[in-house]
């Protein structure tokens, strides 16, 4: 496992203008994310967790500071280049699963591969990914024919189908019960360990925090705490921590 820096945030700020009111979602965030990290961003609602993920995911642009993702200065990239960065190097998992409802699980995974320009082999590759993640039996089901946990696992399959270096998961377990959350987190940890995929979660969920090797706490848009720790066993028991 290398220690390459994937994300470097230096004094990053994000201000939303909602009419006459300015909302400072992030204020001077400075941190680095390294290859192989399994990082949880925690904090109360409105602390800037999702905003940070959106900036790292090149979905939004910082108002100030410098944010480098996989060597790219996101704020200077065109819309098209940001889309390419997302397609080839980033994966997303959302709280509400957000699978395309009219497509089957396999097609949802295939869609990303098609966007990458993969032709004839994409169906086979999508099936292989679903099989690897134990989702083979759901391949031909549409989202409304699956449980929330199954849908979220398919969403993870979609996120990793393009072989990204970094997966951003926004509250991935918020809508899942304990058992499904454990299955999902185990799957992500396995992908992190076996494929060296870096994960950044935003979460309120202590189960997610328990699985993380690093926990960044945001309060009012600032980094309040940055801890590295040994992830707990899959049962979710907390582990000893080391504050930076």
């Amino acid at each position: 496992m290398t220690n390459e820096t994937l994300v470097k945030a230096e004094d990053v700020t994000k201000v939303y203008n909602t009419g006459k009111i300015e909302v400072h979602a992030l204020t001077g965030v400075t941190l680095e994310v390294h290859q192989g990290d399994l990082m949880a961003i925690v904090g109360p609602s409105g602390s800037g967790k999702t905003t940070f993920l959106n900036l790292v995911g090149a979905l939004d642009i910082a108002t100030g500071g410098q944010l480098t993702v996989l060597g790219n200065d996101v704020s200077t990239m065109s819309k098209r280049r940001r889309a390419d960065l997302r397609l080839h190097a980033l994966g997303f998992v959302f709280q509400a699963y957000n699978l395309v409802p009219v497509l089957t699980a396999r097609e949802n995974v295939e869609f990303v591969l098609e966007l990458q320009g993969i032709g004839g082999e994409r169906a086979w590759r999508a099936t292989e990914i679903l099989d690897q993640l134990g989702l083979g039996e759901f391949a031909d089901r549409r989202p409304n024919e699956m449980s929330g946990g199954q849908q979220q696992r398919v969403a993870v399959a979609r996120a990793v189908a393009s072989k990204p270096q970094l997966v951003l998961a926004d509250e991935p377990t918020a809508n899942l019960d304990g058992e499904n959350a454990e299955i999902l987190l185990s799957m992500m940890r396995r992908l992190n360990r076996e494929q060296n995929i870096t994960f950044i979660f935003s979460t309120h969920d202590p189960r997610v925090v328990a699985h993380a090797r690093r926990v960044v706490t945001l309060v009012d848009g600032r980094v309040a705490k940055d801890q590295t720790k040994t992830p707990g066993p899959l049962s979710g028991a907390p582990a000893e921590s080391e504050e930076k």
Partner: protein
């Protein structure tokens, strides 16, 4: 269309449409009722447009045919000054040579000479002013349907000089019968009055009193001797394919000398030509309005679909879908709607167009029994539409143009969806 069957099982990849296409097609199934209503709208609109276009096209053809067969012909060779002066006194030089040249031109089916002069017909104390038409009896009846029906007597015969065929209404006005002698008076070229006695050999009946009261045909040689002007004033031709009229006019123009001009029926009967153009313009306007209604309806439905799917588009954008592909997806949805709408338009429009092409629409009652004669042209009161294979591509053209154009704005709107904002708004 079953979306499941489109992609299920991962079958033969070469036979399967792309996921983007499947996504577009399946998205239309999401709100099946709305999609069906949209297709119904496109189909009905296309059917109305097809019917109107077919009818007006047929009506135009009928008008052209009626005008051509009412003595005007499809085209005429006239003296070069005629288009400006429209004087009956002008004559063609060496008209028989020109006639032979016209007859030898490919696409010309009949050629007949004419010479006109204004004159007074008198019988006893009754007098009528008419336009006397000098004709070649052998060819005139083939090109002029106004004198095909001679219920009493017969049409003019070649070489039988001093005879005339007049309309029945004119005969009644003058109170004459077959074999009566009419006194005819015309102005000669030198200004002197010239007169002759003409024996009535036939009475023409067109079905229009107005037209019947203006028919007075004599042999061309009689007009020559009465007016003192030798030759024909025009050579009227019928053509096999009126669509190629422009080509024929150019072809003839190149062959003829500068003292002749070739004019089409539109120049000969400008009021009728403008009537046809007005009809066509109204049709285009109506078709345009129907198309705009379809356009707005589809755009509204597509825009509603885009607004409902903003989060979906945001997610697709997040996973790396570029704006161009999103536009293609939206256009694919428009094309699918357009294709189904075209088929429905054909299903509804073709039978209606076929009916009006074969049975026609009878305007007899609308005209209250009055004849349909306008500008010396006799029209059939049963108007028939045009029908042919051209309707099929037209249906697709109409529906697809409307749906593709109406998909552009929603597609652009979808492309502009900001993923971060859309995802945040949904949360």
């Amino acid at each position: 269309m079953d979306c499941g069957s489109l992609g299920a099982g991962g079958g033969n990849a070469r036979m399967r449409p792309s996921i983007s296409t499947r996504y577009a097609i399946c998205s239309l199934r999401r709100h099946l009722r709305r999609t069906i209503l949209a297709i119904l709208g496109i189909g009905l609109g296309s059917a109305v447009c097809l019917f109107m276009i077919a009818f007006v096209r047929g009506e135009g053809k009928m008008m052209l045919k009626a005008a051509a067969e009412s003595g005007a012909g499809h085209l005429r060779v006239v003296p070069a000054q005629w288009p400006k002066t429209r004087e009956n006194d002008l004559r063609l030089g060496d008209w028989e040579k020109i006639r032979d040249l016209m007859r030898d031109t490919e696409g010309v089916t009949a050629v007949t000479p004419h010479a006109r002069t204004e004159g007074l017909l008198a019988f006893g104390t009754r007098v009528a002013g008419v336009e006397i038409l000098g004709v070649d009896p052998v060819t005139e009846q083939k090109t002029n349907r106004l004198v095909r029906n001679i219920p009493e007597g017969h049409y003019l015969r070649a070489g039988a000089l001093g005879t005339t065929v007049i309309g029945r209404a004119l005969a009644e006005r003058l109170d004459v019968e077959i074999d009566d002698l009419l006194m005819i008076t015309v102005a000669k070229a030198d200004g002197e009055m010239s007169g002759a006695m003409l024996r009535i050999v036939g009475l023409a009946q067109t079905g229009s009193e107005e037209l019947d009261s203006g028919i007075c045909h004599v042999n061309l040689e009689d007009v020559e001797s009465l007016t003192g002007r030798a030759g024909a004033a025009d050579l009227t031709a019928m053509v096999a394919n009126p669509k190629r009229l422009g080509h024929l006019v150019r072809n003839l123009g190149e062959k003829l000398s500068d003292d002749c001009a070739v004019v089409t029926w539109e120049e000969i009967m400008p009021e009728l030509a403008s009537g046809v153009k007005v009809d066509e313009t109204w049709t285009r306007l109506t078709v345009g309005i129907v198309m705009i209604v379809i356009f707005l309806g589809i755009m509204s439905a597509q825009l509603a679909a885009v607004l409902e799917r903003r989060r979906e588009f945001a997610v697709l954008s997040a996973v790396g879908m570029r704006g161009g592909r999103l536009i293609r997806v939206m256009l694919a949805e428009g094309i699918v709607l357009g294709l189904f709408g075209s088929v429905l338009g054909l299903v509804l429009g073709l039978p209606a167009a076929y009916y009006v092409a074969t049975k026609g629409i009878d305007f007899t009652k609308m005209y209250g029994g009055a004849d349909l004669a306008v500008s010396n042209v006799l029209f059939d009161p049963v108007f028939k539409g045009d029908f042919g294979w051209w309707l099929i591509p037209l249906a697709f053209e109409l529906a697809l143009t409307a749906t593709i154009l109406s998909s552009l704005y929603p597609a652009w709107f979808a492309m502009r969806t900001d993923p971060a904002t859309a995802l945040r708004a949904e949360q």
